[in-house]
Symmetry: C3
């Protein structure tokens, strides 16, 4: 199989978004719009993917990361100009080049594969993805000869009234033989009032030189149209949401209200898991089977074991074991790793903590930078004082420890196996195994006492 | 009036659900699908209801409870076989038998009543609920004679091309005279390639024996179709949600966004109550009038008094009095009973607690296994230490007590009427009436102290 | 320009709402229905607005406040009677009078402006807003002469069969020349079986006296129809929600799921802010640009600075600075004012607190009635004991203070600049600058201790 390269045009601002951010970074289900296009290119077989950046290009690089190559187009002089900027990149390439747009997140890999296959099968210098439009005004028309072969692309403003009746339009998505493209690019000039370079001129060159141009007509016009404003962005997200949720339901996931389950494109979910309403599952999250996720939870870049429940909670960059019970109202942060049958209950924040089997943090606690052994019970109101105003320190709680309520564990500190900490203690030094650590004043009852209420005469 | 018995077929797996759980247990608005069918049967007058179980039948028994009778069908040999398994059950029965399916949750009691009445009025041995289908392929067709009487049911695969044009189909829902059914069942044999027993053969026997067969054509085809996969399950839930919410709006309940108010079929709600978006009201919950429920709350199997607000909170198996103010972010658990004008505020968990009038738990507290008198104020961060690692103990807080913040009440313990507990105290023994209980070290200010920040030279 | 006065009829109960509250007070996106009408009247130029109240009129006055004038209609004797009650009010008025209904919240100012202009341009005594109805049954029909001028309004029950074919109906919204109206009102009598006064009789009087009557036909029939029951109320809210959200998206605000973003009519939002699902923004809230609001948050009558995030939180009557980070699960209450880069984190309630730049209240705290300086760190579990059972007192925390975890600050109390409070302390008196305030028992480890678990032999 020949090599496939993809070039994604993403230099524009998208002025109708009314945004200071580049259009291709506007997110859909937690991922930048552009990610959907790079995913499709990769799924269609692209080994190298380059993105042509311009407006706020640094942001695009930062968001998309080093897996892609970036080509700067500092001036916006047309699609031909964008591809010209990639000449150095293309100099090293052989095989085919897919040309895509960073703002068409609904493009399907299957469509791209069809386009590539058509180009390869016909030996064309370039293949054009076309579609029919009810209202083609504004789009470049596809001119076909009597043999139904593409003989040209005419821009709307240059089209004759006869040509304007044509409803087959150019989507701007192409597959080129790189060698042929390179030659044609060398002759590309801005022959128009705007001084812009049109990539469609390349096809005129192909045809002029007797090279073949193929055309693939897709019925899926929606997929090649990108959102141009925020209302369309919302509709695009609704479309993706529905498609992703239907796919998971078909796989045996229950989603009682698919309209309010927001599942990103890279998430995986096991069978017999239920995703309740108002729930966001984003990033590279993997959820096991038989889980209860939501209602009204958010899980990002995390792994959730089988039979685990996460209700009314937040989980970020964490790894939760099986049969865990999280929430309601928990905040599980990065670096949290739990074993089986762990409970993180109501109003609990955990961060950078490992918790072994059967241990419980049932209520109102903050556990940060800690190791918690198995069969540990953390009383309500327990706080690891991990920060001294300068650095963070670790707390070690060994197996079978019982921590009383409203306890402070001033890190660095260790509570040894089987120890108990009395409620209301501030623990600043190690509690030995099996011992009772206590730091507490003795209770006195002042019976002669006059309360503020008494004093106020109420 | 004659006796009515219902037999609900619920032995199948529902393979298109892709689930390890039986199809009839998949929930809709917090209730298993099968509950809607047993509810409809009971509303139509069924005094005894038996469920034929097979795939994961123990789960069905466990979920549905002892109010129903269960009949095992260990092999899946057709609908006739399912009813044959009920022969012993039917031996004791007289009157009519409704045959229903556990996976048709939208079936209406009114439709069943019509079917029963038709059967009784016509003196038929059996009455068939039929419906018209735009695409009847796959369904058994209803054959009627020139007098418009049902003369047979033909399975799709056995139907002639003339019969396949018929769009009146068998829903599989029947009402039988039990005596006639018993006789026909005695002769039922698996006369087909699959070796299955078809219940429709009973009607052939009736007709052969000169008994009358009646047919009720319902226009409500949707109601007799059950969901077969999870996408259909979601649509069924949306349909029920809309129907239930419309009913409550007609009764004077405000539901600003009916698409995201999830109200179960057994819930009752008083007039001028508002159910805000993202709210679940499930189980046997009863909500008074003039309440504010939600947004984004969940109330299950609870009673809520008039004029009570529950916002951004969870309430399970609790009984809240009138004019209570719950949330945001409260977790009210089983066994909580409150009187009038109680406040349970932000980040508070209560479990198995009785709270008398006018008392307040405004913030960040855990109250478990406690009695709280009237006019009590519980300071933020108060925790009842109800668990010593082995057993749970009770805390008694009498009337007009003031508990300072970050206090531990180590149960069993009592704070007598009018007493005060100083902030930061751990109370391990009784505080007498009117006294100040205090367990606190005296404050020292170390002015020569070098903070970690100073030491770090920051 | 001439003076414009508006009279809004709002005395009815709206029995189909099944409510003890007046129909016009039922809320839509946090505002009473009537507010939309007074807003439209004001936007159309009305300088004085009077509301005719009757059923539960005191509630209307209380809800709508002193910016409006109120006229009592204690008996419900028709629209003419309602306007008659306003005779004293009108005695002082000149120019034009808009007559509107308190239960038509979708009425547009542009439509009212057109009506006013028509009336002024034609010199009519009164102008009628009309619309076409597919099913006009029940509505008063507009009779036009051959010159297409309005020659009468006929009530449905008085209409001939020829007149009943007319589909142009009276919306009941009028613009009058006040002088002409006053004269016509003087002659208004209840000439009908019900003994009611019909305002439409005024037009008969105009026409009889040779005065001109103008008619404005609006195509927007929906806008002049008010909701009559709670299902229609929900649909009206959905319509408003969609319209408001579309407007903000067009202005450069991202709303990924517009169906579950609930934004009130008086809210303002800056560009590149995202409003995530399940979020309520109500009242006179102003949100800056580049903010992240939601998911599942509620912000009421607050100001939010640029680049601030509010996630899974409640904000009421607060003023948050730029680059703040609020939530998840924070409860920010009235009188909270923050400077730049303040963090209010998980499970934190703040009320009547000023917080200076860079200060953090990261977890599980209650701060009430306090001043917090800059660069302050508030440890988890810190509580300001602001209430002694009788009155509230203030806590002052100066710049660069570090408060340890599970600390009580018993107000009134001051912690001076640069001081530290040790974890687990109850601070009852001032901590000097740079000092360490500590109130804590020394830790003991009892190694001979027998835990309840040991005792239970477990």
């Amino acid at each position: 199989m020949e090599k496939l390269t993809a070039l994604i045009l993403a230099a524009g601002q998208g002025t109708r978004m009314k945004s200071k951010y580049p259009k291709v970074l506007h997110p859909l289900l937690g991922e930048p719009m552009l990610r959907y296009v790079t995913d499709a290119a990769r799924a269609a077989g692209a080994e190298r993917i380059a993105v042509v950046i311009g407006f706020e290009g640094e942001r695009v690089q930062a968001a998309m990361g080093p897996e892609l190559e970036y080509i700067w187009q500092r001036e916006q002089l047309g699609t031909g100009h964008a591809v010209l900027m990639a000449r150095e990149f293309l100099a090293k390439a052989t095989g085919e080049l897919l040309v895509l747009y960073g703002d068409t997140p609904l493009i399907k890999p299957e469509t791209l594969c069809e386009l590539i296959e058509l180009q390869r099968a016909t030996g064309a210098a370039g293949a054009i993805l076309t579609t029919r439009m009810q209202d083609p005004a504004g789009y470049g028309r596809i001119i076909r000869n009597t043999g139904n072969e593409i003989s040209g692309i005419v821009e709307h403003k240059d089209a004759s009234s006869g040509e304007r009746i044509i409803d087959e339009v150019n989507t701007g998505i192409y597959c080129f033989t790189i060698a042929a493209l390179r030659e044609a690019l060398a002759e590309l000039t801005p022959q128009n009032a705007q001084g812009e370079y049109y990539l469609t001129d390349v096809f005129a060159a192909f045809i002029g030189n007797g090279l073949k141009v193929a055309g693939l007509l897709t019925g899926d016009a929606e997929a090649v149209m990108g959102p141009n404003d925020r209302a369309q962005l919302a509709r695009t997200e609704a479309f993706l949401r529905e498609a992703i949720n239907q796919r998971w339901m078909a796989e045996g996931v229950s989603i009682p209200d698919p309209a309010t389950a927001y599942i990103g494109p890279h998430v995986r979910i096991g069978r017999d898991t239920t995703v309740f309403p108002g729930t966001f599952i984003f990033g590279k999250t993997v959820i096991g089977s038989d889980c209860v996720i939501g209602p009204q939870s958010r899980i990002v870049d995390s792994t959730i074991g089988d039979n685990t429940e996460v209700q009314y909670s937040q989980v970020f960059q964490a790894e939760l074991g099986p049969q865990n019970n999280i929430g309601p109202y928990s905040f599980v942060r990065q670096g949290t790793v739990t074993a089986a049958r762990v409970k993180i209950g109501g109003f609990v924040e955990v961060k950078n903590v490992r918790i072994a089997e059967e241990s419980k943090v049932p209520h109102l606690s903050y556990m940060g930078d800690a190791e918690v052994g198995r069969d540990v019970n953390i009383g309500a109101g327990t706080i690891t004082c991990n920060y001294d105003g300068v650095s963070k320190h670790r707390t070690i709680i060994e197996d079978e420890v019982f921590i009383g309520s409203n306890t402070n564990l001033v890190a660095p500190v260790t509570v040894r196996a089987g120890a108990t900490v009395a409620a209301g203690s501030t623990i600043t030094k190690e509690v030995p195994a099996k011992a009772l650590g206590i730091a507490r004043a003795r209770q006195e009852n002042l019976t002669e006492w006059v309360s503020p209420k008494d004093r106020a005469g109420k």
